[in-house]
Symmetry: C2
Subunit: 173 residues, 2 copies
């Protein structure tokens, strides 16, 4: 898909295509459409990121709360979005032994209780051991720092999804 | 449901219950959860409205773009959210003759082309004739005024949905 095609989309088509660049938040794509035309894929990425950065703190926390747990119930039940399913599969989270799954579930619950949002990580760049290590590490970070880190992961996930949709290499990973 | 129950919800339960108070924007409920505890239903309503008011203009336009057309293809196909389905049915939009449906479709298309978002109206307070009249009237409003009017309708829809969920009378209609 080239930028000419993207810039020619009405908002309905745009949200159909880019509505899950930010997990379960089609509002973000629907807002970014206001900024068209986009110069290039990097410009489109930057508009998604700028919208996230401009949200008040509760809005950024809201974005995080629309994400599923990694290796959580939704993966088991098959109710993830197609993008999340693919990413969690790529990280090898679908084939975990029960003990590993329980360990991650315990860490996820501790993380949610501490920060008030789920642990978000660009999973497809990881394997199960590094997901668990990163969760254990971030569990002890100060809340303000952790919000910034988590939002950075949302952006990385978004860049990878945009690159998939546009058939480009993701910028600035 | 009383406020004690609402205030005891974790963010997952809260988004499950209130995620469609703002049509297809669970992000808003997920953000509002940060503001708990809520004093009373009016306080909860006010938090939803305050979040919408604090969004940049493109975010408010994004909220509107997540709404379906009234009497549009989604009503025909049965792909509306349960809340929208009920509201459009209450306005008598399901039983329209083909000519009335085509007339509304033409007006909706004109409105989308002029403003860059769909015509949003708290439909359950209307009947088909008043929906068409209101669409014809608002089609000629200045864009900045129309954005404010449309956002007011989003809030009215949200208040009615909250009142349904909480079993209360909606405030400030």
């Amino acid at each position: 898909m080239d930028m000419e095609q993207v810039n020619a989309m009405d908002f309905g088509d745009f949200v159909d295509v880019f509505g899950n660049v930010i997990e379960r938040c089609p509002l973000v794509a629907a807002a970014v459409w206001s900024q068209r035309p986009f110069a290039d894929p990097g410009d489109l990425e930057a508009r998604f990121c700028a919208f996230l950065d401009a949200l008040p703190q509760e809005g950024q926390e809201g974005i995080l709360r629309c994400h599923p747990d990694l290796a959580g119930r939704e993966l088991q039940r098959g109710t993830l979005t197609a993008e999340s399913q693919r990413e969690q599969r790529a990280a090898g989270l679908q084939g975990l032994a029960a003990a590993e799954r329980d360990h991650l579930a315990m860490l996820n619950a501790q993380y949610r209780a501490r920060f008030g949002f789920p642990f978000v990580l660009a999973a497809r760049l990881r394997d199960p051991a590094s997901v668990a290590r990163e969760l254990e590490r971030r569990l002890h970070c100060p809340p303000a720092q952790e919000l910034r880190t988590a939002l950075g992961e949302v952006k990385t996930i978004g860049r990878l999804r945009l690159a998939d949709l546009l058939g480009t290499e993701p910028a600035r990973l």
